[in-house]
Structures are given as C-alpha cells and as structure tokens.
C-alpha cells in the first residue's frame, strides 16, 4: 500500500488502515485521513490526465467527458467505501433495520454528498439514525459534507424515511421537483438491494409516464421542471459573473429528466440518458448532440474551478484573483495565452458560446414536453367535458372554475401553466367563455372563494397571473369580463408584499415577456397601475436585479404618469419590437436602437418593411423624447433632438414612398430640383409631441405628370404618417385640391397681400425645408419669402396685430382671460408668441427658424429690447414645457384642465405645500407667465407699430 499513489483497490486499503488503529477514535482518524489523501490523489491524477489528453478542436469535448466520468467514478467509489466503513464502525452490534443509503446527487459534484436513506420503518431505525448522525459528523470533518435534502423534505424525524412514509407523503400533494429528481436519481451505495427494488417500483414509477394509469404525479413533476427551466432561461445571463449551474447545468438536468420520465429511460447518469434519448428521438439527435457538448464543457469549467479555486456557484469575473483562478482552469482545459488574449479570456468566450447554444437547445426541446403535458394533463377531461356540454347547450355537470381550482390543489406551488393558458387563449376552444360563464352563475360566497382561489394561484406564479389577467382584460368591454378582471386583479394585488423576491419574479416576467407586462398595465385601471408600481418600488439587492427592476419601473411609470398619447407610442414600439421595452430608461441605448432602426429602414428591400422599420425608428425616438421630458431634460434640448428625428423620418419616408411609386410606374422620375417638402407649424418651430404635422409640398415646375406623381408620393406618405397617430395637414390642398402646390399657383394666390391670405403667409413664413435641393430652397426664398412676404412687411405686421387683437377679443367675449386655459390660443399663450416671432422675422427679414433660439437671435439684433426678449424666451420655455408635459401626462390637447394638473405639476418640479397644492401653484405660474407674455407683447408691438 502506497499512501502517495492513487489506490488500485480502495476497499482493501481502507480495511488495512482500519486494522492499524488501536481504538475507534484512532481508526476514524486514520480512515478520514486516508479518505482525504485519496480524494486529493484521485483529483490530481484526473487533472494530470486531462492536461495530457487535451487537444484542439472536436476531440476536446470527448476528453472533457472522459475526465468527468473518470473523476465521477473514482469519487463515487471512494465515498461508497468510506461510508460503508463508517457505518460498520457505528452500527456494530445491536438491532438494525433493513436500510439503504443512496447517492442522490450528481456524481461529479464534490462540494457536497447528497444522500437519501430508506429504511423499513421498524423501531430499530433509532440505532440507524444515531449511526447516520455520527457518520455525518465524521464526513463533515474529513470529506465533503453530506446533505440529506430528501430526509428533510419528506421525512418527519431523523435521517431515514420508509417507503410507506414516502408513499403517504406523495399521496397528499406534489413533491417539489428537486426532491423528485433526487428520488429518481437515487443510486444505491450501501444497504438492501431488495429495498431499492421496492423503492423503484413503488416510488420511482409514480413519476414515469404510464399511458394506462393516472399521470398526476408525472404531470406535476414535468410542470415543476418546466417552471424551473423557464425561470432559469428567462433571466438573462449576468454580465460580470458566471454561474455554471444557473447558466446551463440546471436547465439541462431538468429537460433531461423530463424526457427520461416521458420516455421511460431509467438508466442512471447524464451521458447515458442523453445517449438513450438521442436513440429514441432521432429527429432531436442534433439538438441533443449540441446540448451534450455544451453541458460537458460547462460542467468541466465548474468542476475545475471548484478544484482550483473555491466551491462557489457564482464566479465574479471582475475580481483579479478570480481571473487568476480561471486562468488555471483554462490552462488545464488546454487553452493558452495568444498574443494579448489570455487563456481565461478564450475560455470565457467558449463558455458563453456553449451556454448560449445549450440554452437554445434546451428551449428547442421544451415544446415536445409541453405537448406531452397537454395530452396527459388531469385538467384535460375536465375541460373536454365542459366544452362538450357547452357545445350541446347542456348544463355543466361541474362548475369549471371550481373544478379547475380543485384539480389545482394537488399542484400547489407549480409555476408552469402555459398549456392551460394556451387553451384559454385558443379561439377555437371557447374555454375562457365557459370559465367566465361558470363564474358568473356562482352566488356571491362561492364566487368570492373562486376569485380568492385563483388569486392564490396567481400569487404563486406571476407569469400565469399576468397572462390570465391579460386574457380577461382583452375582453374588458364585456361587463362580465370587466367585473372579473377588477375582482381578480384586486385580489392578486392585495397578495403582493413588495419584498425583493417578488420584485425579482416580476422582473423575470418582464425580461421574458415585456409585451405581456405592457398589456397587463394597459388593461388594468389607474389605481391598479399605482398599486403595481408601489409593489415594485421596494429595496432590491444586486446590480443585475436592480437594473431590470428599474427598467420595469420605467415602463410602469409611463403607465402611471403618462397619457394614452404617450402610452400608445410605447404600444406601437411594443407591437413591432417588444424587446426594445427592455431598454426603457436607458436613453443612450434607446438612441442606439433608434439609429439602428433607421439604418435598417434604409437597408431593407421591401417598401413595406422599410416603412415599418422607419415607423419604429420614429416611435422609439418619441418614447425616448418622452422619457427625457419625464426625466426633466430641458425642453429646448428635447425639442431640438426630436425635431431632427422628425426631419429624418420625413426625408426617409419621402424617399421610400418615391421609390415605391417609381417601382409601380416602372421608371424613376427626378424630383431633386423640382420638388420641395416643407414643414410648417409646430414641427417647423422645433416642437416635439405634435398631434399633426403641417406639410407643404411645393412643385417648382408646371408639368402635370410631376404634379400627379408627387401627389401619389404624398398619398403614400400620409397613410404612413397617420399610423403614427399624426395627422398630416396640407393647408394649401384646401386651396388647390392637390396635396402638392405648384409654386406659380402660390405666387398667384399671394398677390396682392390681403387679410384673407394672412394665415397662408404665416404658414409659408414659418416653413422649413426638409426635402429638396439648394436650388429649391433659393427659389422658395426668392419667389415667395422675399418677393411676396418680406416685401409686404407693413401689411404683414399690421395683419398679425389685427389677428392677435381679434382673437383676444373673441376669447375675452367667451369668458375672460382668467378662465381661458387653452395654452395655445389664450391671451399670452403660444399663439401670441408665434405671431410675435413671425412679425419680428418679417421685420428683420430673418431666415432663422421660428424656434426658441430665435429669441436669442433677436436679443443680439436688438440689444435695447434684451429684457423683453429674454423674458419671452423664459416664458416660452415654461409654456412649451408645460404643454409637452401635459401632453405626455394627460392628453394631446391644448385646453388644460386644472383638475388634471397634478401629475404635470409633479413632473415639472412643483411640490404640494400646506397652503397650496402643486397643481394650483402650477396654474398660478401659468397665469404669471402669460402676464409676462402679454406685457412684453404689448411693448414689442408698440415698438413694431412705431
């Protein structure tokens, strides 16, 4: 016997060691020491062999597999022999029950030893329990710590559980899938073979599929596994850490056990199981092959890291020591430093690739399991009977809602219900109608019980909760659905405590299906949104969770604080690219996404796809601008950025629609110097959050063909713009009957200058070219602005003053300025500011756009009026921000409702005070700013008139 060599015969050597001890204590010490020594030698030898055998490429994986198998076999043998001898020492003499000790964990995992102990339940079990207790203490000192998960979760007292106790416990309710997996994976180490055979027959078989008998336990186990897989796959991989078990090993183990129980594969060991499944399901062979490779790789990384570094499940990549440890792992696995790339970095690249592939394969293997559950579920007969009765117009023998709840009692805690929800959602099977009908016929007490029952169920699985509420909410126009939605949602929300685990579960659902969370928030009422928001606002731990929670909170805040106008933009993004919702709150990321969408729009070949991508670009940017406004960014900054977006949108839309029309006509028509698209109104002034766009399509030639051609382009553009909730307005279309206005017609219209065309002059004066050439811009300036508007300076200014005064008089007659809350048209409102800028633009023959920056330009040109222009600039900023925030929080209307100003005020930084609520203070500020506008306007008009 050579103590520094791996034993050829562990059993023999252990016996020799035991014989050399003089008493029990010394024997235990020597045995423990021998175990520890062999443990080291076994692992060192295995790693040495791994280092020797690793090669490049395909072969590597099989070397890893052999390494893991060898290590697992050696370790398993060592543990078995150690346990045998410990029991021999502790159980000598006296009565003992018939018993069996099983290994119930993964053979390769050495961080603990998962043991399951079965006995005959006789009174003699006390001695056995005492011996196991001593054995555990000894193992804890010299080897890996034993873990008795099964005993803790199935047994009542002690380490041992009898088969009868197992059976009783399993008849009561479903066992959690972790326990079941341990039960199914049990491999005898020491003890009665007969007991093991009974255990297999009476306990194992409950979880295998048998078409001829009830599948309740099998179904419950599969649901447990599917729920586990979903929760692991839905949560994105962490960025700064790796966690092999979470990342891949658990999902793989779970999916393989699902297949093992479905197909009746009873052989132990992951690789053997994979091979059997692969032989049985030939169409999934390639998926299983790739799964096996990824599993082997990740398991090897985990095992070696535990050997070299620490028994940690989460490996922090930001830590230098950890990286040094990973370097050792990488080198053992055959990786080398290459140039500036360290071996561990290579390893991590491959690790992430294997995790990605492995997870994808697990996902691909899930649908057959889901279909199997649908086929064998205990809910099937219940549903089929009810639907058949409904089809025949017969009364239900059993109330469906109560029946479902009763059947669910056994499955308490299970999280996978996608199959049942899919049936509820299936329009071919009116299950939801039947469910709602059956709830409607219940008396108040039974109805209450049903609602509470479903709410309890919902609280166990949030994805099911939200999905069910969404399904009911989609039909909230029906009174029965609206009532049920309100009751069920209220009961569900009242069960929330806002603890970090709950927040994590909600964040997981959000990451998995942001569209569903958005839809949930859409179908429920304001108060529910607020409660949901509060439930998410508690403390959370960990950067990863914090990041996703914050993004979910941003979505929720849009629903709580935002107007439908804003929420609809989010809805449009969600409809096209729901994954973008995951980036809410990250304005920079949204910016990148939007740019990507714009690039995508120009790259795609079909005009329809191009328009969709371009529309999404606009919508994402709209949401980004809205969030920036919510975050308190300066209106000028938001407006300027969003105006550029609108310009890009229009430019590109014009190009796409033009190409589309060209394609239909079979030839391309050049419009470069002959057509100009101008924006006017709010968009031209650089205002975000418009609900319509004033467009002017100017044709600089008089050919009928081009007129008709441009008109078709405009028609295409209009259709697209309207889909974004914007109404394109062509003011001159009213005059000329075409979307497109020939410039010569415009020249004719504008001569002579007269009150009747003042509005048209204003539109043109505020116009800004978005599509066109330098030549069209010059021609517009020379033929329209300079010759027909700037030259009519006196007329225009006088007409603008008349317009302003007549509007003031009209509105005054309707109720006085202090009752007028139309932010645009009221005295001292945005229209006055616009008219004033137009007057000064004409006065100075300025080419500057009529945006907030124009006040600065005027300040420079007229320093003697600096105070007035600066005051107007500030007032303009305030009024525009008020308008923007009101649009985003209340509605895209100009008339402000004082009762609805609360959220607007909060976002604008007004706080409630004892003497005045924030909304009232905002209203007061609104009037104060208008007074400033009125005073300055009067002063500036006087100056212009002079």
């Amino acid at each position: 016997m050579h103590l520094r060599r791996r034993a050829q015969d562990v059993s023999y050597e252990m016996d020799c060691v035991l014989q050399s001890g003089r008493d029990q204590e010394e024997r235990l010490g020597l045995l423990g020491c021998y175990f520890a020594l062999q443990f080291l030698l076994v692992n060192i030898r295995a790693i040495d062999m791994l280092r020797l055998n690793v090669t490049e490429g395909e072969r590597r994986i099989s070397v890893y597999r052999d390494f893991l198998r060898l290590t697992g076999d050696d370790y398993s043998r060592l543990i078995r022999e150690y346990i045998r001898r410990l029991l021999r020492l502790f159980l000598s003499g006296g009565q003992r029950p018939e018993f069996l000790i099983c290994a119930v964990g993964t053979r390769i995992h050495q961080d603990d030893v998962d043991l399951g102990i079965i006995d005959d339940g006789s009174p003699a079990r006390a001695a056995l329990n005492q011996a196991i207790g001593r054995m555990a203490t000894e193992m804890f000192r010299w080897s890996s710590a034993p873990d008795f998960y099964l005993s803790e979760h199935v047994g009542s007292r002690g380490y041992t559980v009898s088969i009868e106790e197992y059976a009783r416990r399993l008849d009561e309710r479903i066992l959690d899938f972790v326990s079941v997996t341990e039960i199914l994976g049990a491999q005898p180490l020491v003890g009665s073979r007969r007991l093991f055979e009974r255990f297999q027959l009476e306990i194992h078989e409950r979880y295998y599929y048998h078409p001829d008998r009830s599948s309740r336990e099998h179904e419950g186990y599969l649901r447990g596994l599917m729920g586990e897989i979903n929760s692991l796959l839905w949560w994105p991989q962490a960025q700064d850490t790796i966690a092999p078990k979470q990342d891949l090993l658990r999902p793989v183990t779970a999916i393989l056990w699902a297949y093992r129980t479905m197909l009746g594969i009873r052989e132990p060991g992951t690789w053997k199981a994979l091979s059997r499944i692969s032989n049985t399901l030939r169409r999934h062979r390639e998926q299983l092959r790739r799964l096996e490779r990824s599993y082997t790789f990740v398991e090897t990384v985990r095992h070696l890291y535990q050997q070299f570094a620490a028994q940690e499940e989460e490996i922090d990549l930001a830590d230098a020591d950890t990286r040094a440890n990973l370097q050792q792992v990488a080198e053992a696995m055959g990786y080398e430093d290459t140039g500036v790339i360290a071996a561990w970095e290579h390893l991590m690249v491959h690790y992430h690739e294997h995790v990605r592939v492995g997870r994808a394969m697990v996902k691909a293997l899930m649908p057959p399991v889901a279909r199997h559950i649908r086929r064998c579920t205990v809910f099937g007969p219940l549903v089929r009977r009810r639907l058949a009765a409904r089809r025949l117009g017969q009364p239900a023998r059993q109330n469906l809602a109560e029946g479902i709840l009763r059947a669910h009692e056994y499955f308490s805690g299970i999280k996978y219900w996608a199959d049942l929800l899919a049936t509820l959602e299936d329009p071919e099977q009116p299950l939801l109608d039947a469910l709602i009908e059956d709830i409607e016929v219940l008396d108040a007490e039974r109805r209450q019980r049903v609602v509470e029952g479903f709410a309890d169920w919902a609280a166990e699985t949030f994805v099911t909760a939200l999905h069910l509420l969404v399904l009911i909410g989609r039909r909230r126009a029906e009174p029965a659905c609206a009532r049920l939605l309100a009751e069920l949602n209220d009961a569900f929300l009242s069960r929330l405590t806002g603890d970090p685990d709950e927040i994590r579960r909600f964040a997981t659902v959000f990451v998995h299906n942001p569209a569903m969370v958005h839809e949930y928030l859409t179908v429920v009422d304001d108060a529910s949104r607020q409660r949901f928001h509060e439930a998410l606002s508690g403390p959370v731990y960990g950067e990863e969770l914090s990041r996703w929670r914050d993004r979910l909170l941003t979505l929720t805040e849009i629903h709580v604080r935002g107007s439908r106008y804003f929420r609809n933009a989010v809805g449009r993004v969600c409809a096209e690219r729901p994954e973008f919702l995951l980036q809410l709150g990250e304005l920079d990321v949204l910016d990148k996404i939007a740019r990507g969408q714009l690039a995508e729009a120009m790259r795609l070949s079909s005009p329809t796809s191009q328009k969709n991508a371009l529309g999404t670009y606009y919508d994402v940017e709209f949401v980004r601008a809205g969030l920036a406004t919510f975050a308190g960014h300066a209106p000028a900054e938001v407006d300027a950025a969003f105006s550029t977006v609108c310009d890009h949108y229009l430019e590109n839309l014009f190009d796409i629609c033009k190409s589309e029309v060209d394609r239909e006509r079979g030839r391309r028509i050049l419009t470069h110097d002959r057509l100009g698209l101008f924006v006017s109104g709010g968009h031209a002034r650089g205002r975000a959050f418009q609900d319509d766009w004033d467009l002017i399509l100017l044709l600089f030639t008089d050919t009928d063909e081009l007129l008709e051609y441009s008109n078709r382009i405009a028609a295409r553009m209009n259709r697209e713009i309207a889909r974004r909730g914007l109404m394109p307005q062509y003011h001159f279309a009213d005059r000329f009957g075409w979307f497109v206005t020939p410039i010569y017609e415009l020249e004719r219209l504008l001569q002579p200058a007269r009150d009747e065309i003042f509005v048209e002059m204003s539109q043109l004066l505020g116009g800004r070219m978005v599509v066109g050439s330098g030549r069209t811009a010059t021609e517009f300036y020379e033929r329209i602005l300079d010759r027909l508007i700037f030259s009519e300076r006196e007329f225009f200014i006088a007409a603008a003053i008349r317009e302003m005064r007549s509007r003031h008089a009209f509105r005054e007659a309707k109720g006085g300025w202090e009752h007028d809350t139309d932010i645009k048209e009221c005295r001292g409102g945005l229209r006055d500011l616009e008219l004033l800028m137009l007057m000064w633009k004409v006065q100075d023959r300025a080419l500057d756009p009529i945006s907030e920056g124009f006040w600065h330009t005027l300040t420079g040109r007229h320093p003697e009026l600096r105070d007035a222009f600066e005051a107007l600039h500030d007032a303009s900023q305030f009024l525009n921000r008020l308008r923007d925030v009101y649009r985003l929080t209340v509605a895209p209307v100009n008339r402000l409702d004082p009762e609805e100003l609360g959220r607007t005020a909060a976002l604008m930084g007004f706080e409630d005070r004892p003497d005045a609520p924030a909304a009232r203070r905002l209203a007061q500020e609104f009037f104060r700013q208008r007074r400033i506008v009125i005073e300055c306007t009067e002063r500036l008009i006087t100056r212009l008139e002079g």
């Binding site: 107007s563 106008y565 209307v893």
Partner: protein
C-alpha cells in the same frame, strides 16, 4: 369592393370638431387599417364663424385631399349648414343639430335631425361632449370605421378622467343613430 367615403364636420370654433375629425381618422388609420386623411380649417378660433374638419376614408390611396362629394355632412350651426349643404352628394346624409339648425335645406339626401348639444347638456351634463355624440352618430351612419376602433381612438385622445363621459357620449350617439336608421327604414 372598394370604397371612398367623405365626411365633413362643420360648426363653430370651440365645438371640438377638429378633435372629432382627428379621432375618426385615427380610428380608421391606426385601429382599423383603413386609409384616412383629415384636414381642418385654420384659425377659426380667432375669428369665430364656420369651422370645419374633413375626413376621407378609403381602402385605396387617397390622392385627392379635398372632400368634394360629401357622403356625410355634420352641421352644428345654421351658418355651416347653409355653407356646405351643396357639397352633399345624391344619396348622402345631412346630420344637423336639431336646435341649432332650423329650416334645413332640402335636397337629394337624407336628413337626420338630432339635438346633440341639448342631449349632451341634459343627459351628460356637459355640452362640450356634443362632438362625441356626433361622432357616435357618424360612426354608425357611415359604417366604415368600427365602433371599437373609434372607442380606442377616443380613449387615446381625450384627457385622463374624461374617458368615461366621452365614451358615454359616443355610445349615446351610436344608439341615436340606430334609432334614426330604424326610423328611416320604417
């Protein structure tokens, strides 16, 4: 079969006709996937007098933006009725506010007289929602845009807290239109 439907909503500034037009067009374009254009008269608030909003609905491209042969004209004032009645095409529908428009001009079109402003005041307590009653009547009468789409568009446009009354007004309009249609058939 393709369709092309032209609607003009007319009255005076402040009656919410532009908003009603936008809602109808949005309902068609966004929720029902029908092509729609909407245009409006400019600056009516400043001068009072006739205000109008036009909506054209079609399942084909709308090349011509101006409503010329109206399938439906809504007139909430006498002045607007007189001004636009000649644009209704034969077989079209003239919808007038019964109290505001007396002596409705006759023509080759149907006439529905409904006291929309009074009903808004008496049944809903807010004359300002007369535009939503009108929208309900128009939606049912035109039969081009679905009621559900219009309800969605209303909810998207009106301020929070006013959804209920606006939807009630719309539903009232739909039921009035149903009555009128039944009466016309009879």
């Amino acid at each position: 079969m393709s369709f092309h439907y032209e609607i003009r909503l007319s009255g005076e500034g402040g009656q919410g006709l532009v908003l009603a037009g936008k809602i109808l067009a949005e309902a068609a374009a966004i929720y029902d996937g029908i092509n729609a254009t909407q245009s409006q008269s400019y600056g009516p608030e400043a001068r009072g007098g006739a205000s109008r909003s036009e909506v054209i609905l079609s399942d084909e491209d709308i090349d011509f933006p101006k409503a010329q042969n109206l399938d439906l004209l809504l007139a909430l004032t006498k002045e607007s009725c007189d001004k636009y009645v000649r644009d209704i095409k034969p077989g079209g529908l003239l919808l007038v506010d019964e109290d505001a428009v007396e002596n409705v001009p006759e023509g080759q079109f149907q006439i529905w007289r409904i006291p929309m402003i009074r009903l808004a005041r008496e049944k809903l307590g807010k004359p300002i929602v007369a535009n939503m009653i009108a929208l309900g009547v128009i939606t049912h009468a035109a039969g081009v845009v679905s009621e559900e789409a219009v309800r969605n568009a209303i909810l998207a446009r009106v301020p929070k807290g006013t959804e209920k009354i606006n939807i009630e007004a719309f539903d009232l309009g739909v039921s009035l239109a149903k009555e009128m249609a039944a009466r016309s058939k009879a």
